[in-house]
């Protein structure tokens, strides 16, 4: 029996149950972390502190300080709002040719023996 369960971002349908598909345990936590990181502060109603403010950096010039700030934002967000995960390492690599930033986050999730790596690509959406 799963410890954590949430419905899927895509509202996908379970192929056999025809009910809404679930994400459980590690997948649920990773989905939660991604949601938090891609949420700006002030975006959630009546909860102005929830979010990471990463999107605010979209139009900033990419400098070594940007890497530090990104790591800081990610670390703070997970620490404040996701009690099920602990950050082990964060790697931020700019991909200038594709105008994106590759983020790899190594986290330890409660009730899981092994650390989990999650990948996040920060890019403009339009």
């Amino acid at each position: 029996m799963s410890t954590f369960s949430d419905f899927n971002n895509s509202f996908a349908i379970h192929p056999s149950k025809k009910d809404i598909a679930l994400k459980t345990d590690v997948n649920a936590v990773i989905q939660s972390i991604k949601s938090l990181l891609l949420t700006d502060k002030g975006e959630r109603l009546f909860q102005p502190d929830v979010g990471s403010n990463i999107r605010q950096m979209l139009f900033e010039n990419y400098t070594p300080q940007t890497t530090i700030l990104l790591k800081q934002f990610i670390s703070e967000t997970v620490e404040n709002f996701e009690p099920r995960a602990a950050i082990l390492d964060i790697s931020v690599s700019p991909d200038d040719d594709n105008n994106t930033v590759q983020v790899k986050i190594m986290v330890r999730i409660v009730n899981q023996a092994d650390p989990v790596q999650m990948d996040l690509i920060l890019e403009r959406i339009r």
Binding site: F4, S5, Q31, R44, F46, E82, P83
Partner: protein, 596 residues
């Protein structure tokens, strides 16, 4: 069965979301509802926000559904309408003038048409006043053409036309100006644009005595501070026909902005004559704004109990305040309470805003209004209010170690506190001033104040004519302290009744005082020695506080009059009938420091 698990009757987002979470604790399918980043948590945000908005909306709808809690004017007016209450409109300033026309020929008569316009300036703004009736002026025996005591009313004359369209079942006749003075509204209905037969319709407040042929209209409040005219249905009041043309003519008033106009001149001409002299009998007064939301909420429920009839004291107060929006304070009592009694009279004492008392013209207006609504055997008397002033003497002790304020600054705080307290507690009919509470207000004026020793006295003034004997009656309306002087001296050096100084004959520094046995004397203070100059010029009833002075003939006095000061027996002073207890705003304050 009632839902005891999910409580959504709340307008706090956090509480709503919390109740959803509590509800979700009862299931095991979605377990992440309490983690901020989960999709389910985001969904709870949306649901909580939606519930919050619905609850807020319903709360507002419910609030607007009751007269007590409604805040929007349209809602309040709508509730008032169900109580048959008509919120008072803007009112025109009214002035009274005399006009004299000097024609260059000798006509048999000169016609002064209705709405003849005059202009007047107030604060650099020009306002138009006009007559509200037509007059024919005949030459007098000397060939002079004049009208005395002509009432003129401020306001631009507006005419609105509507054509009745019975095919339009939702047609309404809403007058377009919120500044309308509805007392000036005149409604005429013409048969059609081609058949000019017309009839004047009169305003009706109710349907009593009305039938299908009655040429009446009703005026009711509408949205956005406007008014709407309505006509009968053929049973109660004549029903309008298709093609009828309604003409509504009224004044658009500038409220009290046009009050105090005192110089008037004719705008245009009167029957071609322009040599017209205008003199002012009384300056313009009585302009007012339409009734406020708070006032409608206060008056509407009371109005329905009054039913446009003046029977009880509260009927008078409610209806008169509603009809004359420049009334600041009003008291009403029966003539049997007077001494000597005046049976069959109702005494109405009125203080108008921005004026001490009430003009003769306004008195007549009020009496006219009352006569139509009071029982047959009752006749109204409108009287000026009397002002009974409270004089405050206080010794204030404060600790300079706990404040950086100087003596003068502490004094200023005390002055301000006195003003605030008296503004709230007195300044109206039937008011009381309690010394203990006044004393507390002084203590609370500044944290550094340790204590105070305060005395209140009552003051009234008389204005004698120099060199002419005059009699005066002053009602202090409170029991006066009685003290028998020992060897012509009072304990604190002042008699319970004493006055400001005046010259009597050729004796300066004379003043009035009581002798402790109910007699008012004139005494002279000659270098600290008090001598009786006239042993009996009046009397005092210590119990009722009525002082009478007979044939007082003074040679001179300073200021606007002679002020009599009385020491009340009780530490609570009050006023009744037509007396307004008021603060004289000149406290005697002594400041003392005590370092603790």
């Amino acid at each position: 069965m009632a839902n005891t698990t999910l409580s959504v009757a709340n307008v706090d987002f956090g509480t709503l979301k919390s109740s959803y979470k509590t509800y979700l604790q009862g299931q095991t399918l979605f377990k992440d509802f309490d983690f901020t980043g989960s999709n389910l948590n985001v969904l709870l945000d949306v649901m909580s926000y939606n519930t919050y908005m619905n609850n807020f909306y319903l709360n507002m709808v419910a609030a607007e559904s009751f007269l007590d809690s409604a805040v929007l004017r349209d809602s309040v007016v709508s509730h008032a309408k169900t109580l048959n209450y008509l919120p008072s409109s803007y009112t025109s300033s009214k002035a009274t003038i005399n006009i004299t026309i000097t024609p260059d020929d000798a006509p048999a008569a000169i016609s002064l048409p209705k709405y003849t316009a005059f202009t007047a300036m107030v604060d650099s703004n020009t306002y138009t006043f006009s007559t509200n009736e037509g007059i024919t002026i005949q030459a007098d025996a000397n060939g002079a053409y004049y009208v005395n005591n002509l009432d003129v009313f401020e306001g631009e004359i507006v005419t609105e036309l509507y054509q009745v369209n019975t095919a339009n079942t939702s047609q309404r006749f809403v007058l377009n100006n919120k500044e309308i003075d509805i007392d000036s509204l005149i409604v005429n209905v013409t048969e059609s644009t081609t058949n000019l037969a017309n009839a004047n319709y009169t305003r009706s407040l109710n349907t009593v005595g009305m039938d299908g042929e009655s040429n009446n209209y009703f005026i009711v409040p509408s949205e956005n501070e406007l008014y709407e005219i309505q006509f009968g249905d053929g049973v109660l009041g004549r029903n309008l026909s298709h093609g009828n043309v309604i003409e509504a003519k009224y004044r658009r008033a500038a409220a009290n902005n046009a009050d105090s106009a005192s110089v008037f001149s004719l705008a245009g001409d009167i029957q071609g004559y322009t040599n017209v002299a205008v003199t002012t009998v009384s300056s313009s007064v009585g302009g007012g704004y339409n009734e406020s939301i708070e006032s409608i909420k206060f008056n509407a429920p009371k109005s329905i109990t009054v039913q446009d009839r003046l029977v009880t004291v509260n009927d008078y107060k409610t209806l008169l305040r509603q009809a004359f929006n420049d009334i600041q304070a009003i008291n009403v009592y029966g003539g049997e309470e007077l001494s000597p009694p005046l049976f069959g009279k109702v005494v109405i004492s009125v203080d108008l805003a921005n004026a001490d008392g009430i003009s003769d013209q306004r008195k007549e207006d009020i009496m006219e209004y009352v006569k139509d609504r009071a029982p047959l055997s009752i006749s109204p008397v409108v009287v000026n209010p009397e002002f009974l002033y409270v004089d405050v003497t206080t010794e204030v002790v404060y600790n300079p170690n706990v404040t950086v304020k100087s003596d003068e600054e502490v004094k200023s705080s005390v002055v301000a506190a006195l003003k605030t307290y008296t503004n709230v507690s007195i300044g109206d009919f039937d008011s009381k001033l309690r010394l203990s509470k006044l004393s507390r207000a002084i203590d609370d004026a500044d944290p550094a104040i340790i204590n105070n020793n305060t005395v209140i006295r009552l003051q009234k003034s008389i204005v004698p004519t120099i060199g002419t004997p005059g009699s005066f009656t002053l009602n202090f309306d409170n029991e006066i302290y009685r003290e028998i002087p020992q060897n012509n001296n009072f304990v604190d050096g002042t008699a319970p009744i004493s006055s400001s100084t005046f010259t009597f004959g050729n004796l300066i520094n004379c003043f009035l005082r009581d002798d402790g046995s109910g007699v008012i004397q004139i005494v002279q203070d000659s270098q600290g020695v008090v001598q009786v100059v006239s042993s009996a010029v009046g009397s005092i009833d210590y119990t009722t506080g009525v002082v009478q002075i007979f044939d007082l003939n003074v040679s001179a006095y300073s200021g606007a009059g002679i002020t009599l000061t009385a020491m009340p027996t009780n530490q609570t002073v009050s006023s009744s009938k037509n007396i307004i207890l008021s603060y004289n705003s000149t406290p005697h304050i002594t400041i003392t420091q005590e370092r603790i």
